[in-house]
């Protein structure tokens, strides 16, 4: 299934794309094979094979971009895509030869049995073991749904600046949903783990451990009380709590919003934007993590970026277009969902380094508040900075201790306000195991988040119980 475009064709397509006078042309060739297996009611219910193959061609002129793609790899169809992309340039400056040279890219993935070499029987075994473990956990468990999705994405990128690079990206995710019931009331728990690795990962993080965690959350939620409503101190748990950074700060530091002046962080590099306890990194180089990329979808190597350092804004996440217009370098943040999409500045793995306090010391300081152990997702509006996140597992804090579990609530805050209200940072940095996927402008990309236990002095908890 894997086939290469001949180099002379690549060079010719880039030249055709620039016939009307574009400044940069880029070709993105993707061949992705995805397998999905779903378990329901104790049996393998459905298998899926997904192939995404095609070429996207982009032409840039200043801040203007033209884009055409084709899933038909005939020369005629690819040339049509190149011409469509070239239409954005209207000066018609004529023919220009392009030659590309291949450069190596250092891997950031864990080698092993990637999805394109794994037998279906191995997938079946993992899901069946997860199902059995979840069912064993408790008689109140009523249903178990499991899903195993893996892919290998082969990417080739060539540019009129002479670059030719390739990347081969594995990704695997095993998720389990457990439904529990008591007295006619049903709740559920959801947990998953994986990354850019081989299936050997599940020898260490077993399907049994993933299923048990989903069952534990579902059972906790059976006991949950209605969430409180109103402003109170919030402690965010390690790992999945990193969704907070992704929403409250991360999106607002993507270069496109800042170049366009629509982000509240526009023009504020070097200024204080958070309490001095706050440092935030975005790192595409962490080995095997879900958000990691050896190179981005424009061919720039993934990097470790300091976004905020002790409360001071240090820089934005840049793709090639915005970096050029802002007179700086790409930070390897140009990502896209597929060959059908234009790249955008995006996050990879966003996290905060560990602080000094023991996690229980962080909680002990709170008289009455809310503990968000994990989030199931979040969303932000980047101009004013209001964001929400949805609590996956949460508890009340009373007299410095975790008490009753709380039903799914939405927390709402304002990014810059919340970041100045960070009062304590725990020593327990953890990268989230969850299978987070980030959406922006209609494009989905896998991301990672991480956080140590964090105390925020005050935030609005959006429950239904008014005191």
């Amino acid at each position: 299934m894997l086939e290469d475009l001949p180099r002379p064709l690549i060079e010719r397509l880039l030249a055709v794309a620039l016939e009307r006078g574009g400044e940069h042309a880029e070709l993105f060739h993707e061949q992705r094979l995805t397998h999905a297996l779903r378990l329901q009611e104790g049996r393998i219910h459905e298998a899926g094979v997904n192939v995404t193959r095609g070429v996207g061609i982009r032409v840039r002129v200043g801040d203007q971009q033209g884009y055409g793609y084709s899933d038909d790899l005939s020369e005629a169809s690819l040339e049509r895509a190149a011409r469509v992309a070239g239409k954005i340039a209207r000066s018609g400056s004529g023919v220009r030869a392009v030659s590309v040279n291949e450069r190596p890219v250092a891997s950031v993935y864990v080698n092993g049995a990637w999805g394109d070499t794994v037998a279906m029987a191995r997938r079946v075994e993992l899901l069946t073991r997860a199902d059995a473990a979840a069912r064993r956990a408790d008689p109140r468990i009523r249903a178990v749904n499991g899903s195993l999705v893996d892919e290998v994405q082969n990417v080739l990128i060539a540019t009129s600046d002479g670059l030719l690079v390739r990347d081969r990206r594995p990704l695997v995710s095993l998720t389990v949903q457990v439904v529990t019931e008591r007295n006619g009331e049903r709740t559920h728990g959801y947990y998953g783990d994986g990354g850019r690795r081989g299936f050997e990962f599940y020898d260490r993080v077993t399907p049994e451990s993933i299923a048990s965690e989903a069952a534990r959350i579902a059972l906790v939620n059976l006991e949950a009380v209605e969430a409180p409503a109103g402003e109170m101190p919030v402690v965010v748990g390690p790992g999945g709590g990193g969704v907070l950074l992704h929403e409250a700060v991360g999106h607002g530091l993507e270069a496109d919003f800042n170049r366009q002046g629509v982000s509240l962080y526009s023009g504020r590099v070097g200024e204080r934007v958070a309490s001095d306890l706050v440092t935030i990194y975005d790192d595409g180089n962490l080995t095997g993590e879900r958000g990691s990329i050896a190179m981005d979808d424009e061919g720039t190597p993934g990097q470790h970026k300091v976004l905020v350092e002790r409360g001071i804004l240090r820089g934005y996440m840049q793709d090639a277009l915005n970096a050029e217009l802002m007179h700086t370098h790409s930070t390897g943040s140009g990502r896209r969902q597929s060959f059908r999409h234009l790249p955008q500045p995006r996050m990879t793995n966003t996290y905060m380094p560990a602080g000094e306090l023991q996690p229980d010391e962080v909680i002990r300081g709170v008289q009455r508040g809310f503990y968000a152990k994990s989030f199931s997702g979040g969303q932000v509006e980047i101009s004013k900075g209001d964001f929400v996140f949805m609590v996956g597992e949460g508890y009340l804090i009373e007299d410095g201790r975790l008490t009753a579990p709380v039903k799914g609530a939405t927390l709402i805050g304002n990014g810059p306000q919340i970041m100045t209200r960070v009062r304590a940072v725990g020593s327990d940095l953890k990268l989230a195991s969850g299978s987070y996927t980030c959406g922006k402008g209609g494009q989905l990309v896998p991301v990672g988040v991480g956080l140590p236990t964090l105390l925020i002095a005050s935030m609005t908890v959006g429950g239904s119980r008014v005191r």
Partner: protein
């Protein structure tokens, strides 16, 4: 319509049969898409492509596997179809699996294709996008930026063939405009988004009008503050109401009901909503954005009453989940599961402004963020922004708060519905009011 999509679908079904599938169904979609984004006085992106994709469902003795691919070369397809049929052997047999028997499809004109989408010149489309950018800035001095004004269109050809003898194809088109102003009142930036979708350019509202509505929404939000935590009547503006209906659709989907992942499971015939709640799914609505002659399995679409004056009458089904719950498919198969055709709440009376005037005290919500819905319990909460209503009038803008409740309670508490529905998406709603919800602010 070109013959190619149908031929490709037939070829894939034949490949599946020779690879050992007992039954197979192939859908080919060819999408000719165009899109531009304008910022200030220029077009910043222009995209145009023809995308093709094939989805094959293969059944081997009740074991189902699906292939979705953009690789459509004859040699490539043969290998992939074989791989799909092979994958089916990993699945447990399910006696309920399998294709629907072919049924005749109505030939009436659903008004879902408009030739003007291709006839319209690129210059006119560019002019519409630039008009929106200009009108946004002309509306108010506080609007000094935007997140782009967009014009997009598409012509889709859909062909479906199955091994039981069904063959069908249709063509549809769509156009959408959207504007996203940013207002700056000196202390904060405020964004808004407003758009419209139709099947053709001729049916679109004027680009300038879309820009003006978007601009007004951004400007009116300037100076918004956080409300106090309390309980209040909440009016859902029609776009926000449609998001809530989307959550309700998930609870009405036979796919969720079958695995009891719905607070409505087992409640057919029960009174759930108020008298004002009549909700239908109508795949044959002329000009509806979700209308089509047949669903993703070739089952003819139809009109299904889901709620009638608050009483739950029917769930929505594809073939598999209908068999599972002893019902008939309602023509709602989509993407391997159950999807909406035109799923909407029947309109009541008057405009949103009149609904506000009928509300002595409350909040009208124009924007929500987040997606916290527990389908099993119906627990629902969102971040929100909008206006405080006092004495039947918009009093001042509010934001930074959440609204929360339970979908079951919210349906029962819908006590007033406006008539401002526009059928521009597969899930739409008129604005409506929920008598009481928790508003969480300061």
């Amino acid at each position: 319509m070109s013959a190619e999509p149908l031929e490709l679908a037939r070829y894939a079904v034949a490949l599946a049969a020779s690879a050992g599938a007992r039954e197979a169904e192939a859908t080919v979609v060819v999408s000719d898409t165009f899109g531009i984004e304008a910022r200030a006085q220029q077009i910043v992106t222009l995209q145009q492509s023809v995308g093709r994709s094939l989805v094959l469902r293969a059944f081997v003795d009740g074991r189902k596997a699906t292939l979705a691919t953009t690789e459509l070369s004859r040699a490539g397809l043969a290998e992939l179809v074989a791989r799909c049929v092979e994958a089916a052997h990993s699945v447990e047999p399910d006696p309920l699996g399998g294709l629907p028997q072919p049924q005749p499809v109505q030939n009436g004109d659903l008004q879902i294709f408009d030739g003007d989408v291709r006839a319209r010149s690129e210059e006119e489309k560019i002019a519409a996008a630039l008009t929106m950018e200009r009108e946004l800035r002309a509306y108010d001095a506080r609007i000094d930026n935007s997140n782009g004004s967009r014009v997009a269109d598409a012509v889709n050809e859909v062909a479906l063939v199955n091994s039981l003898g069904f063959e069908g194809s249709y063509r549809s088109s769509s156009v959408s405009f959207s504007a996203s102003p940013v207002a700056n009142d000196g202390s904060e930036k405020r964004t808004a988004h407003f758009g419209a979708s139709r099947h053709g350019y001729g049916a679109m509202p004027a680009a300038s009008e879309i820009a003006r509505v978007a601009a007004r929404r951004a400007v009116e939000m300037c100076g918004a503050r956080k409300p106090r935590t309390t309980t209040l009547p909440v009016i859902f503006e029609r776009d926000v109401a449609a998001v809530l209906l989307g959550d309700l659709f998930a609870a009405c989907s036979g796919a969720n009901v079958a695995i009891e992942n719905s607070f409505l499971a087992g409640r057919i015939g029960e009174r759930i909503g108020s008298e004002q709640v009549t909700i239908v799914d109508d795949g044959l609505l002329p000009g509806g954005m979700g209308s089509s002659p047949f669903d993703a399995e070739g089952v003819p679409t139809r009109r299904t009453t889901v709620f009638e004056r608050g009483v739950l009458r029917s769930f929505l089904f594809d073939t598999y989940h209908a068999r599972k719950l002893g019902a008939q498919s309602t023509g709602n198969a989509a993407g391997g599961t159950v999807g909406p055709n035109n799923f909407y709440l029947l309109p009541g009376t008057g405009s949103l402004e009149e609904l506000v005037a009928r509300t002595p005290r409350g909040i009208v919500v124009y924007d929500i963020i987040g997606f916290a819905t527990e389908h099993v319990t119906g627990t629902w909460s969102r971040g929100a922004a909008g206006f405080m209503v006092e004495d039947g009038r918009i009093a001042y803008p509010v934001d930074g708060f959440t609204i929360a409740g339970n979908l079951r309670d919210m349906l029962a508490a819908i006590d007033d519905v406006a008539a401002d529905i526009i059928y521009e998406s597969a899930i739409v709603s008129p604005s409506f009011r929920v008598a009481e919800m928790t508003v969480s602010g300061t």
